[in-house]
Symmetry: C2
Subunit: 457 residues, 2 copies
């Protein structure tokens, strides 16, 4: 790959000192990484790079699943790891002001110490940064109740490609004073600016948690169950995680570390959870609502957890996605299709898979948010055909008018799929924004859009 | 005022027919109003106007409170009143696709017939259009629970200044495929595009509603009460409306149509409401939670409503804001300040008012959303000093780092106040967006930004 401009690297070293510039040999990630300690330094770095046409990749936890943190040429990395302070937790206004390099789990725990909840949770909580989760509009396990990262951001500070600092650290719920600038940068994957600080909305910490694993006989009952729970657990339903049997049965197979809370053989396994405020009443209500679902025949079998250990055991089954990677080469997909199309979508994928060499096909997802995860791969690495599996999956998403990225973003790895979910008019409009805010294309170039696509527009 | 270009009006008449062009004599509103019947016609209208530099004002219900629908010169109005169809209600995916001219109340009732809730409600529900509520990011009475209009929009269709149609009618909760274009147009007050269709997220209709009016002795207790309720009515708290005594005591004065559910003399009156899913359990829980608040001394007196008629009676007290306009000339302000600053903010306004000629000063608001409404005016019209009252109010908002518009928008009437809540860097960035999407400044010109400010940027 190309090398960064050595003069620029020298200028950056003078600005930041030796400890502010890290060199690392790496095939895919930037080999030169600068580590600013303040928003002012981020601005200075961008001014230097802007003047010299030196491209950068903003780095968060580097655990994103769309290769948004890879370099595509001579990009320098800009890591906000030194900007990890929690600047303020404001318990009266229920906000938290954090620097972008703060690790998600650290922020969640700090909120918890004040009896408040930062309702964002997913597997990479220990490595993902607040800046990264904002830049990718992260989702996860509680979206059905609290929304995605976008809904938690009240204000932010961002540095534009030319070094201009936009400080918009709003703390108010309602603020209709002109264009809501922060929305432009949330989910833009670092292509429009470098996020440096964020004001997050916090919620009261729940006082009760009720969790169950349910066996369901058919997809129509899964959809009805979602509506039944949503309609009868007003505002408290926080998880509706569906596992197709191939998922559940492999994770709880005989020699697994996980024991099966429900017997194998059902069509669907659904993890449901509510987060409430009255432990006794909520537990009774949860049981009643599930009882009602069983009476209607929506649920064939159920296990309600009675302890934190039992809850953890069920969540660990749902979360143990890495286990499937032991089976052989696997591609993890993250897509959305509307609820009415899910059954038919999965059925088409399975038919398609059979016409290939019948590879691994594992389906699970946050069904309450129309979000499916699909793992396609092959136990025999020799039979693994990346292209064929990818085409099958994305062709089907396109046919069902779904989204090629539900929560992981586009980055480098889904860039060529974007036209399947977005019209040419939408893409052209996005590119106009990119060209306005980053005319030299120095911010995370080739992510979302290939450089040639931008220059051709 | 200036006249629209007669050639353009003739072209538009040929496009739309005589019934598609309305002429009306009006001092503030556009005298020529075109009424497209389809997105394609909106696009044709904009192409004609764009070619001729003819400016337009997008018209919704024309009941906005920031004069966003006024003309400032020779603008033509574009009313989407003929595009009022509810194209689809999708009960399985819980979405509604509506044309922008649909009246809010019509959309809410149509959702209700399917057992679903479109959770947006405010006084002008019978005149406001869906397009207008999206363009102004409307708020209202349930924001604490369901968020503002922004949170309900899953997708939209918008026509840009040059007639380009952007159709982005997404129905999925999670969709991270590039920039979230719809966010650019929500709350942009018709200055960046004309919204033609919207996909809205619907919620299950609540099965229980519990409402109370509470008397509270001091502001610190109001804030604690908000946190107590929010923390103990998990996810169901839907209203926390605070009335300062001048509001409550005037509306429930002896010769009023409203009777006072609680005696006069308290420091604050708070209307609280939960929307739940289990009528019996929710009523018990509501009573328990309020009992807990009384035990802690947060609530001095309380009336719980036992019927829809009692509920309506309390809401009518809160909603009867027009009553104050009988007192004399009054300016209604809509501002935000963070909860920690509310008491001191109101105290400063009162002190300031006393130094003028002690005019009317009425305060109430959606405290759960940091949103205050302040009415300043004078019973003696001769003493009414618009400038002095406006300066007092906005000077104080600026000093408290508040927002000059919480939910009403900026339009024409708050345009000059915008720099009090937004930095010059933020404003310049907004203007760059405006210039990119509407380089001829034909879409709602002079709203948000004076034309001179845009051309000087």
């Amino acid at each position: 790959m190309d090398e960064p401009d050595t003069q620029v690297v020298e200028q950056l070293r003078q600005l930041l000192g030796d400890s502010g510039v890290r060199l690392q040999a790496d095939d895919v990630m930037p080999e030169v990484v600068v580590k600013p300690g303040s928003t002012a330094e981020v601005s200075e770095i961008l001014k230097i790079c802007h003047a010299a046409d030196q491209a950068l990749v903003p780095l968060g936890g580097k655990t994103g699943l769309a290769s948004g943190h890879f370099r595509t040429g001579s990009e320098i990395g800009i890591s906000l790891e030194r900007m990890h302070a929690i600047e303020e937790i404001d318990p009266l206004n229920r906000t938290m002001t954090v620097q972008a390099g703060c690790i998600l789990q650290v922020a969640v725990e700090a909120a918890g110490e004040e009896g408040l909840l930062l309702p964002l949770d997913f597997g990479a909580r220990g490595s993902a940064t607040i800046g990264g989760t904002v830049a990718t509009n992260a989702g996860g396990n509680m979206v059905i109740r609290y929304g995605m990262m976008r809904e938690m951001v009240l204000g932010l500070e961002v540095v534009l490609a030319d070094g201009t600092i936009i400080t918009s650290l709003n703390k108010m719920i309602k603020n209709n004073t002109g264009y809501d600038l922060k929305q432009w940068f949330i989910g833009a994957e670092g292509t429009l600016g470098v996020i440096t600080r964020v004001v997050l909305r916090l919620r009261p910490e729940p006082k009760s948690q009720n969790t169950a694993l349910l066996a369901v006989d058919d997809f129509s009952s899964v959809a009805k169950l979602l509506h039944w729970l949503d309609g009868n657990t007003a505002g408290t339903l926080s998880a509706f995680e569906v596992m197709w049997p191939e998922f559940y049965e492999f994770i709880t197979r005989e020699d697994s570390v996980h024991t099966a809370p429900l017997p194998h053989g059902s069509a669907f396994y659904v993890l449901v959870e509510t987060l409430g405020s009255d432990p006794q009443a909520d537990a009774e209500s949860f049981e009643n609502v599930l009882g009602g679902a069983m009476e209607q025949g929506l649920v064939a079998d159920a296990v309600l957890t009675r302890s934190q250990a039992e809850r953890n055991a069920i969540w660990e089954i749902r979360d143990d996605v890495l286990e499937f990677f032991k089976l052989g080469p696997i591609i993890p997909f993250d897509v959305s299709v509307t609820l009415d199309k899910v059954e038919s979508f999965v059925s088409d994928i399975r038919s398609g898979v059979k016409q290939l060499n019948d590879p691994i096909c594992i389906v699970f997802g946050h069904l309450g948010d129309s979000n499916l995860h699909v793992l396609l791969g092959n136990s025999d690495a020799g039979d693994f055909d990346y292209q064929a599996l990818e085409s099958l999956l994305y062709d089907t998403v396109e046919r069902y008018q779904g989204s090629v990225s539900a929560e992981h973003g586009v980055g480098l790895s889904k860039r060529e799929q974007l036209p399947r979910s977005r019209s040419e008019a939408e893409l052209q409009l996005m590119i106009r924004m990119k060209k306005m805010l980053d005319p030299k294309n120095i911010l995370n170039p080739n992510k979302l859009f290939a450089a040639e696509k931008i220059s051709a527009a």
